[in-house]
Symmetry: C2
Amino acid sequence: MIYKPSIPKGTRDFSPTELKKRIYIQNKIKEKFELFGFQPIETPSFENYETLMGKYGEEGDRLIFKILNSGDFLTNVSDEFLNEKNSQRLTPQISEKALRYDLTVPFARYVVQHQNELTLPFKRYQIQPVWRADRPQKGRYREFFQCDADVVGSQSLWQEIELIQLYDSVFNSLNMKGVTIKINHRKILSGFAQIIGQSDKLIDFTTALDKLDKIGKEKVIQEMLSRGISSVDVQTINPIFELNGTFLEKINQLREILVDSQVGLQGITELEFICNAIAQLPLSVASLELDVTLARGLNYYTGAIFEVVAPQQIQLGSIGGGGRYDDLTGIFGLKNMSGVGISFGLDRIYLVLEQLGLFPEEINQALDILFINFGHEEAIESLRIINQLRQKGYKTELYPETSKLKKQLAYADKRGANYVIIIGENELKKQQFILKNMVSGQQTEYNFSDINQFKF
Amino acid sequence: MIYKPSIPKGTRDFSPTELKKRIYIQNKIKEKFELFGFQPIETPSFENYETLMGKYGEEGDRLIFKILNSGDFLTNVSDEFLNEKNSQRLTPQISEKALRYDLTVPFARYVVQHQNELTLPFKRYQIQPVWRADRPQKGRYREFFQCDADVVGSQSLWQEIELIQLYDSVFNSLNMKGVTIKINHRKILSGFAQIIGQSDKLIDFTTALDKLDKIGKEKVIQEMLSRGISSVDVQTINPIFELNGTFLEKINQLREILVDSQVGLQGITELEFICNAIAQLPLSVASLELDVTLARGLNYYTGAIFEVVAPQQIQLGSIGGGGRYDDLTGIFGLKNMSGVGISFGLDRIYLVLEQLGLFPEEINQALDILFINFGHEEAIESLRIINQLRQKGYKTELYPETSKLKKQLAYADKRGANYVIIIGENELKKQQFILKNMVSGQQTEYNFSDINQFKF
């Protein structure tokens, strides 16, 4: 029986057209990363089991792909383990490696492991696939790419400012106008919890608040009540739903609400600093907006929190996010290594560019010039000229067979070639070639020696 | 207890310096691939278990990394399987996915699966990691990158010629002189086996012959004898050890040896065609050499076989290889799809460039210009100028803290910055900056408005 080929669910083949669009985005991002002083690193696709497990919560642990030990992996497993038939307990007995789940934990591991080789602050970027055993659905894959830039080893708020500028600079180079960079601060969220005397309910509080965009104020309040926050307390924080005006106006309103929370006021001061700097260093295509309902992965962010939202007409939501974390490397034993980072959602950025028609047309052009193949002598002469054209940077090839002209021209067309060059027996004698413009259909004869003057 | 971080054996972290060198090589290769009309694709890191198993022999099957099924993977495994404690038999019960072992089988799977979307001949390139559970040793990793270019859907020998030119073109752009492209033909090997009436011993014969470089003629003959080839037969093929002279001279000697083998003569004719074409289209840095002892993965090659050898002074052996295969997609049910491909050994090319000092110096330069940080107002002004410099393509950053000048300069030095720009309180007042050349130590004052004239 012949096996009909397919790929595992949640994974993708990337065709040349798709991949070239993805590479286009990545190159724009990389270029800006490097201009901002970030350097690339790569870490292995799989890490030791213990490096990853326990870092993403119970749900995360479950979604990590584990790699089966090689060889006779059952030898040292006790019969008890096998008889128990408990997959979860058996796993660490038969697997000591797992595919990375994100780029953040491997980066933290990298920083700790290589701490003596690094110049601090260390600015790194990393664009690699990650794997999650999530249920695949539209737009959610089991293999997808993350694209992160982080700085560790400096608490300076200039880093946050640089990262906002970096976001703006990337979206500008992609010609994506109308992006919103939302910002919040973990300490402002802590301040809210503090003023209602519910610091222990910070996560309940923010989980509810985080849904404001999706479910609206009434339901957020309902959820807070159901999570054990009293109606008096909900009343106290009601003004946060009513914030309005510019960034600085919101800041001033917040300062009144959080007047009794020292930690809250710290957060406000930091955001004010960032806001003022950005006002003096205007952004090109993005706007910076204070959103106190933004919480994102609260568990490890300790300072500013970012989320980038696609241009309004697209309705796609987040295309990036990040924030400051004061103790990411703590899990691997290195304390006091504050960091701040952002990430770009490559798949979603792809969708935005596709919808807005922002990919350059040339991307589909696999070939600039095709040479028609008429036989041995003609082919040799063609290859001589092809060598010259390639040296000048033109994507050029010889059709490999002496097929009918029509077939060769159809191939040129499918490959997106704008020009075809014809060297038949007659042309060879006259040391000439015919240049056919595939768009206009026009054909013109030139001498071989003219080739160097052409701009295709 | 704090877990001391490490990575799985046989895997690597790539530091910025290493990675940028790797990217340098990859970019040179990609550029040439595209000029020769190849298009990039990517396939998923893991494939279905059945896609990979049975394609690489028993040894290969063993070396493929299998991914443990997610969730409660033991539920549907019968107790018998567990009690048996046979790892090999249990594996397909608890794993339905595996990490790719090379790029060739996934490519064959891709071609078959997407056959209706492809324009033939289809020229693709692919640069992605592959994984093998090999015993790690110097220069052999469990995760490494393959870099392949293949054409499928044409039997034309012009493809072989183009691929030889492509090799030459890549090594030329890497400035790597003295590369040898060895070529052989499967049909010539078949011819040898035929003339000694041992077609069934083709693999024994070529496996022995393939070792000539390493163990010398005497031991090769010993091995042939021990593999059941008679001493009369060894005598018959003795002339193949004595081939000498130019490519065409060797061809002529071969034609005499293989005069009675039709298949052998076919192989000779093909190589002669290739050799003549290359003579008319001279290579830049590589030389083409006929090596009848070259066998490489004989099992799927059916025509030309290539191997690229590093410049002699390096003693590193193969840095690339490839060949023609007439039935690669047959394993997935698509017949008559002849293909030919080459691959580049990225890790070894890296070693060659390192040894020959061929990496450009700029690679270590993470930064062009560092701005010293003296405080808030100075920083804002610096960031304004930094924005302009980045737009001009200079890698520029502001030191994030107002540390002592000495510390900031040391950072600039470590980051490879050639220039430092100093804007202190005085400079800000005068709207001037001090440009410090980090190589000469020279310092010069300029007006802010001068910035656009600079070439750093």
